[in-house]
């Protein structure tokens, strides 16, 4: 067995580490502790958080990648499979390996289409693993539940890494524009107005097309197809990030403009505190709630966007298992007679639960963190 560390794995675990570190800091800071206590008092919020935690756990297990040793590799000089597996794959080995020939309905005992059998003419052939496929199987006989569980990681990555990538730029530029003013403000405003005026989907489409050209022209960059798909996923996150930082940046600029005039900032200036220190001590902590709310609010939108973009053909690599690619392939099956509905239903159901939990959690967090709400 050989560990494979994909870039997205590293970032995903960094993100989890950062969340843990953030939680430690929050538990030491009085007002953050209070805010989180308010989140904790919201039953809906905590329920949503529990659901999200399960999703994130699945995503984390699915981010431990390795290449299994080939069984026939000679002693002392192990050879590894080109296929990259994850810890989740190991846990789900029964689901992953129990493939059928083609479509079968949820918990069915027989295939979905008649076939010519050796002995008894045309009939529904029995499944190899009858009654084990909770959500049925797809065209090539893959278990749909397995596919849906594997889609979770992609959705989570898009939802979190995108915000993470754009966050430093949005926060830095927003605070700088608001605090420095003058020509710096003009330049930053020009920058985000310009980027913002390009319709998002089109900019993403153009950028993804270009990225595709670059990746296709340089097959030597990637050792495995998993790495290639991973690079494409990260590039998609980056592109989504570049097109979506403008909103947060503008919000932070406005807030900084307000905070800059507050008396405690004036008092700090009168005490001779330097500009960077004022930004760090007085402005940043007081806009952090906006940043936090933006992170959770963007998450659900991004998960939904992934499905749409993958459908349009400008999303993740077609080989990456995601809600979007699942829906994309399953859509054609609706036109079959009789209809194959279960892959579509499973993908939509999981996505709905994930997005709903994220939305509810975002609401609970906004209520707890927004000072205007707190005052009421």
């Amino acid at each position: 067995m050989k560990l494979v560390l994909l870039w997205s794995d590293i970032l995903f675990f960094l993100l989890i580490a950062a969340t843990v570190a953030g939680a430690v800091v929050a538990s030491r800071t009085e007002h953050l502790r209070q805010c989180w206590r308010r989140v904790g008092q919201s039953r809906v919020g905590m329920g949503a958080a529990a659901v999200l935690a399960v999703f994130f756990l699945i995503g984390a297990v699915d981010s431990l990648h390795f290449r299994p040793q080939l069984p026939d590799s000679p002693q002392g000089e192990p050879r590894y499979s080109a296929e990259v597996l994850s810890a989740l794959d190991v846990l789900l080995t029964p689901l992953r390996t129990r493939t059928e020939k083609t479509y079968s309905a949820p918990l069915a005992t027989h295939l979905y289409a008649k076939e010519t059998l050796d002995d008894a003419g045309r009939d529904f052939p029995p499944l190899q693993y009858p009654g084990t496929h909770l959500f049925g199987t797809d065209k090539v006989g893959q278990d749909v539940l397995y596919l849906t569980l594997k889609s979770i990681r992609t959705g989570l990555l898009i939802g979190t890494l995108t915000t993470l990538i754009m966050l430093p730029a949005a926060v830095f530029l927003g605070l700088l524009a608001g605090y420095a003013g003058g020509w710096i403000d003009d330049v930053i405003q020009y920058l985000y107005t310009t980027l913002n005026s390009i319709p998002g989907v089109l900019l993403i489409a153009a950028a993804v097309l270009m990225m595709q050209v670059a990746i296709d022209n340089h097959p030597e960059w990637f050792a495995t197809s998993a790495e290639r798909a991973d690079a494409r996923l990260l590039a998609l996150c980056a592109i989504l990030g570049i097109t979506s930082w403008t909103g947060l940046c503008r919000l932070l600029r406005g807030e900084t403009l307000k905070l800059r005039e507050l008396e405690y900032v004036q008092a700090a200036r009168a005490l001779g505190v330097s500009g960077t220190r004022i930004l760090w001590r007085h402005i940043l902590p007081n806009v952090m709630h906006i940043v936090m709310i933006a992170i959770v609010m963007d998450f659900s939108g991004l998960v939904l966007a992934e499905a749409v973009l993958s459908y349009v053909g400008i999303g993740v690599d077609p080989n990456t298992i995601s809600f979007g690619t699942m829906i994309n392939t399953a859509r054609m099956e609706l036109a079959r007679e009789p209809m194959v509905w279960w892959s579509l239903a499973a993908a939509f159901a999981f996505m709905f639960v994930l997005v709903l939990a994220a939305n509810l959690f975002a609401d609970a967090m906004r209520d707890a963190f927004d000072p205007r709400m707190v005052d009421r």
Partner: protein, 636 residues
């Protein structure tokens, strides 16, 4: 029979009761004032009468009899006929209380549509004229943002008059206005009351306003009425210890040599459980019984009832405290602060290329001089540029011209630590994300936080807490400690007490006097409150529209004012003693973007002569320290 009879009215917000068991009567044509500090439940009482309580609050008990009807028993539809019809209401913030995107005329017409039988187009104009709005025809077509604060409050009053109310509830009607405008609005209200035999329920925290307006007074504390009395009896012999202490906490010239009496602590927060008297914790004359048993009402004289266990009228009137600290140094040699011809102009940009087409002359040639260890008060109404002067001296605002010298050294850019500022808003001046110790050590990491906390009257164990746990007065103390940490010799205090209740204001004023005596601090005290000036300052400069119009010692300016504006300003302050000589000024201050030619004050000045329209008067020296910028200053 009384017009309004409130019996045992209680309001509940969840488990808390911001108003509990309030009873009072108002007769037709009478002004009844509810007096108390913020958070005492005055506004909540008024809103309960109108049944306009916020969503979270509800009337928990009691009855409101108005002209024979129980308002609490009326249906919502019937109640709408009472609101704006029988009872009108005006609010504290005329700016936000009018719909910003409807014309004044349309908003008044709305009220007329509901309550008047026949709507006549002229009625709107008549109403505007009745509240003294000049050019009512044109004003009716204007939007609120085109009017000054005083005009908006007049328009609000006109709107309530549309329904010919028998009772007008005025909730802090002049608190957001300048004193000269306040005087105009109070006169208007009183005139309307006489004309229309309308009763007024006046809600105010200002003893002066109440003294001028009210026939009878009810004092509220922590949701309860604690004293009801006719005006004369109340101001002669206030009965409740809370009321007596409120009087003693008022700063004025007479208390100058003394520390002000303060009420320790602050109004208990909503939701506090009370076993006995709600004031017991802060009362100087508290008895054991006060803590366990709710005091009964006692009638000391006909119409004068007090809710106190003490036989209040027998107890001593609370006098001022011990004598304040030693005498102050007198000025000599180099002044500590010297400001010459300071100007701050803000460009007004217009047009395609955003060229400056004019300037707002926020500060237009101000010169000041302040000696070490002394207090100079900079007095003026809102928008006169006094805060900008403070910021420009500190370097927080870049001056357009002029010079600032500290100890004879010319200053550029940000001022050194020797000069610090204390701000008005105790909630905006402390970063909510920092602990008290971090806030205080902001300017000097080596500061002894515990010593500083004790110096400003807080305990050292508060250093670890966050500012939101503190009351307004405590926050202001923390802000002062932060400034003291860098060992300044001059503090610029920008309205440090105007956001505080009277009793807390007294605590802060005492602290400032103590610090001045201990540390030899000089204060540039920016304020609009004449009483505070009289108590604290040695010298005064009066600002009007970006310029200083009169300066001198406190006695010279406050008791021998020569500039008509100063005289008007002083006269407009409502006095507890009553009977002041009125020099009313009409109209609003003009815009500093376009000051009138000649003397800036001439359009409002009752004594203006032809010369005043032509040239701005030079400062005329009346004594070594006293000068006024008026052509008529020399002539008596």
């Amino acid at each position: 029979m009384s017009l309004l009879a409130v019996r045992d009215l209680s309001v509940a917000i969840g488990a808390a009761s911001p108003v509990e068991g309030v009873s009072f009567d108002i007769a037709a044509g009478e002004t009844f004032a509810l007096l108390g500090e913020s958070g005492c439940g005055k506004s909540m009482t008024a809103l309960a009468l109108m049944r306009l309580l916020p969503d979270a609050a509800r009337i928990a008990g009691g009855s409101v009899q108005f002209a024979g009807n129980d308002l609490c028993a009326l249906s919502e539809a019937q109640m709408r006929g009472v609101r704006g019809g029988k009872i009108g209401m005006i609010f504290q913030e005329p700016g936000s209380s009018l719909n910003p995107v409807m014309t004044i005329g349309a908003q008044i017409a709305e009220a007329l549509n509901v309550h008047a039988d026949s709507v006549d187009g002229n009625r709107v104009v008549e109403l505007l004229a009745a509240v003294g709005i000049p050019d009512p025809q044109r004003r009716a077509t204007e939007y609120p943002f085109q009017m000054s604060g005083g005009m908006k409050q007049r328009a609000m009053i006109a709107m309530t008059l549309a329904g010919e109310p028998e009772l007008l509830i005025a909730d802090e009607p002049t608190t957001a206005l300048d004193v000269t405008i306040q005087a105009q609005v109070l006169d208007l209200l009183d005139g309307l009351r006489r004309q229309r035999r309308m009763a007024i329920l006046l809600i105010s925290h200002d003893l002066g306003v109440v003294a001028q307006m009210a026939d009878r007074i009810g004092v509220m504390y922590a949701g309860q009425l604690v004293e009801v009395a006719p005006r004369a009896a109340f101001f002669a012999t206030p009965g409740h210890p809370y009321a007596r202490r409120l009087f003693a906490a008022l700063p004025n010239a007479a208390s100058r040599q003394y520390r002000l009496a303060t009420i320790p602590g602050s109004v208990p927060p909503l939701g506090t459980l009370h076993a006995g008297c709600r004031f017991a914790e802060r009362c100087g004359e508290v008895l054991p019984i006060c803590r366990v048993q709710v005091p009964p009402w006692r009638e000391h004289a006909p119409g004068h009832a007090v809710r106190c266990h003490l036989d209040a009228l027998l107890s001593q009137k609370v006098g001022a405290g011990e004598t304040a600290s030693a005498s102050l140094p007198t000025g000599s040699g180099t002044p500590l602060l010297e400001v010459a011809d300071l100007r701050v102009h803000f460009p007004i940009r217009r047009g395609v290329l955003q060229r400056a087409v004019g300037h707002v002359l926020a500060v237009d040639g101000v010169s000041l001089r302040l000696d070490a260890g002394r207090t100079l008060a900079l007095v003026g109404e809102s928008g006169c540029g006094k805060t900008t002067v403070g910021k420009a001296i500190l370097g927080l605002q870049a001056p357009t011209a002029g010079m600032v010298k500290l100890h004879g050294a010319l200053m550029h850019g940000l001022a050194p630590a020797a000069m610090q500022m204390v701000f008005q808003d105790p909630f905006g001046s402390l970063n909510p994300r920092l602990r008290v110790e971090e806030i205080i050590a902001e300017g000097s990491p080596t500061a002894r936080v515990d010593e500083l906390l004790q110096q400003v009257g807080l305990s050292a164990d508060m250093a670890n807490r966050y500012s939101h746990e503190f009351s307004g007065g405590q926050r202001q103390r923390i802000a002062i400690a932060r400034a003291l940490a860098v060992k300044p010799i001059l503090l610029i205090c920008d309205e440090p007490t105007s956001a505080l209740d009277v009793s807390v204001q007294a605590q802060i004023l005492n602290l400032l006097t103590d610090l001045q005596a201990q540390l030899g601090l000089a204060y540039l005290f920016i304020t609009h409150n004449i009483a505070v000036v009289d108590y604290l300052a040695q010298e005064v400069a009066v600002m009007y529209l970006g310029r200083i119009v009169e300066r001198g010692t406190v006695d010279e300016v406050l008791r021998g004012a020569r500039h008509p504006y100063t005289q008007a300003l002083l006269a407009a302050v409502p006095k507890i003693e009553g009977g002041n000589e009125y020099l009313r000024v009409a109209g609003d201050p003009p815009s500093p973007a376009n000051p009138p030619a000649g003397c800036h004050f001439h359009p409002r000045c009752p004594r203006a002569v032809a010369r005043c329209r032509e040239a701005y008067p030079e400062a005329e020296a009346l004594s070594a320290t006293h000068a006024a910028c008026c052509f008529l200053a020399g002539a008596k």
